[in-house]
């Protein structure tokens, strides 16, 4: 049996019964990374020795009867945006190429407390800015379903690693779709929890009012198991909420009979790949067969979401990334004439093109004379987008849409056209702007065998319902069981 192809649920059952050991499982995953990852490039750093050492510690605990729960002894990975004590954290950037964190992010701390084995740090678009993982300083990640194609982004390393069974699940981050879009393009499950559900402490900031961490996993149930561990209030993140954390697997098996599903007409527009549209519509009809009520709804401000996002996110980013000045940590350009020269050269040499583009857009939108016209205007339109959803959720329980308007595109296809790249996130961005939760679940393959994903959006802090809907779909269709040919 190839242990790495199991789900968390299956592997944890075997660990609990002491039929397999964490060391055995971790070795199986590391061996696969060694064999397969040179071609996929889903990891920036692999913790070869640390992972085995940690697995040995966890094994001792399990043998002595201290089983901690479903993540105990399970090899996971995290996007290289989460800091981890004593380990390099690059955020996909040259400017942090040699940054060794002196402390742990809350997400990593919680995973380790639950007994999970962190096997490595996944590749990503630099500072999480991108939709293809081509913006990484450490080279692009390749899609396991077709090595000439992108895995999506920015959590493309996480999605590719899960898809190719190079970890059991990974923690990604989602500012405008960076968990859901790569999950869709790699044929795995990606959950963006509601803003405030998971602590952002130790997660390198991109756009602070939108960033949120969440699991990318092989199945919906696995995603729920991981969310159980990482969710919750954190005194170190004042935007994390003091709400009780339910057991996200408790109601996951309940049906969807009578559930009201909204289908927004603005998400089935000209320009969407017909095969994607077909697969998603088929999935929606399937929910009708399961007894859900389907209702067409309207989210009239959808077409303004990308514009709104590409003002707000770069504005916040330009402010957040001001900290990379070559003084306290990270890269510093050598031979500088003056302090200002040092700041400028450090940033010009340390950041990649997309990060510079976003810093420039944000600085422009926030600069004197333009603040009202761009930044304030975008925040007002954000209110309209949020209201669209509030109104819709008075009538429906969840909203179903395609996750991405297309399947995985070719590496290099969009790198010279930033606007075209930005439009990859057209269906995922509104969820972040409105403060909702959303999950992408595989819903079939196109004629070339590339995965298609459907997106289920839920009310703020109603992860339970979207996970239940996703799980219902998954167990009846089994798309998540299909493995990429490469793997």
């Amino acid at each position: 049996m190839d242990l790495s192809s199991l789900t968390i649920k299956e592997a944890s059952e075997l660990i609990r019964k002491k039929e397999i050991s964490p060391v055995e499982l971790t070795r199986a995953v590391l061996k696969r990374i060694e064999e397969k990852d040179p071609r996929i490039n889903s990891y920036i750093t692999v913790l070869w020795d640390e992972a085995i050492n940690q697995a040995k510690e966890e094994e001792k605990l399990i043998v002595s009867g201290n089983y901690k729960g479903p993540l105990h002894g399970i090899p996971l990975s995290v996007k290289d945006i989460f800091v981890m004590r004593g380990v390099r954290t690059t955020c996909g950037s040259k400017i942090l190429e040699n940054f060794i964190s002196p402390y742990d992010s809350t997400v990593v701390k919680k995973l380790r407390e639950a007994g999970a084995i962190v096997v490595g740090k996944n590749n990503m678009d630099e500072f999480a800015m991108g939709s293809s993982t081509e913006n990484s300083y450490f080279g692009p990640t390749r899609n396991p379903w077709d090595l000439d194609r992108v895995p999506g982004g920015s959590s493309g390393g996480s999605a590719a690693a899960v898809s190719a069974s190079l970890c059991f699940a990974s923690i990604g981050t989602d500012t405008g779709g960076s968990i859901r879009q790569p999950a869709s393009l790699c044929g795995v499950v990606g959950l963006k929890p509601t803003y405030g559900r998971v602590s952002r402490f130790g997660m390198i900031a991109f756009a602070s009012s939108l960033d949120q961490a969440g699991p990318i996993a092989k199945t919906v149930e696995d995603a729920a198991l991981v969310l159980n561990v990482i969710a919750g209030f954190d005194p170190k993140d004042s935007t994390s909420v003091r709400l009780p954390v339910p057991d996200y697997t408790e109601h996951i098996n309940e049906g969807v009979k009578g559930l009201r599903i909204g289908i927004p007409k603005e998400y089935f527009i000209k320009g969407i790949d017909p095969e994607v549209e077909g697969a998603v519509k088929k999935a929606i009809a399937f929910f009708g067969d399961l007894g859900a009520h389907l209702e067409e709804i309207s989210l009239p401000h959808t077409e303004y979401a990308v514009s709104t996002y590409y003002i707000i996110a770069p504005s916040e980013a330009s402010s957040n990334l001001a900290r990379y000045d070559g003084v306290r940590y990270g890269f510093r350009s050598p031979h500088c004439e003056s302090l200002k020269d040092m700041y400028t050269k450090t940033r010009a040499q340390g950041f990649g093109a997309e990060v510079k583009r976003r810093i420039m857009i944000g600085t422009y939108a926030l600069s004197a004379g333009y603040y009202d016209a761009y930044y304030l205007k975008a925040q007002r339109v954000r209110t309209l987008i949020k209201r669209d959803f509030e109104k819709a959720f008075e009538r429906v329980d969840v909203i179903i849409t395609p996750t991405s308007p297309e399947v995985a595109f070719k590496i290099g296809e969009k790198v010279d056209d930033p606007l075209k790249m930005y439009l990859s996130d057209i269906f995922t961005i509104p969820c972040n702007l409105a403060g909702l939760t959303g999950v992408s679940v595989p819903c079939g393959f196109n004629s070339e065998g590339l995965p298609i994903g459907l997106q289920i959006l839920g009310k703020p802090f109603d992860e339970e319902t979207i996970l239940r809907v996703g799980h219902n779909y998954e167990i009846h269709t089994g798309w998540t069981r299909k493995k990429p040919p490469f793997a």
Binding site: I100, Y195, Y304, S338, K345, R357, R380, T383, L384, P418
Partner: protein, 96 residues
């Protein structure tokens, strides 16, 4: 609004970034197109709409003022490109 090279140079200065001639051409063209695209928002009348700076109703959480240990000075300086005598060191920026 048309973005000129002068505007790009000004914003680069504010951002503490610099570009060579080729990058400047490319950024001027790309930023112009992106800003033209986002001007779509002007189709909407938002004069009566309150802005949403944040999706949550945030308040500043308070806690007891208890001293906790955090990074030591050495740990805080570990990642510094240059440090001297317990300080972050930078090029001289005050005239003699």
């Amino acid at each position: 609004m048309k973005i000129t090279k002068e505007t790009v140079l000004h914003v680069a200065e504010l951002s503490r970034l610099e570009f060579n001639q080729e990058e400047l051409e490319k950024f001027t063209e790309q930023l112009g197109r992106i800003l033209q695209y986002v001007e779509k928002l002007n189709e909407l009348d938002t004069s009566d709409i309150e802005p949403t700076f944040h999706v949550l109703d945030l308040s500043t959480p308070l806690r007891e003022d208890v001293v906790e240990s955090w990074l030591t000075q050495d740990e805080a300086l570990e990642n510094a490109p240059y440090s001297e005598e317990g300080f972050f060191a930078v090029p001289k920026f005050i005239e003699d």
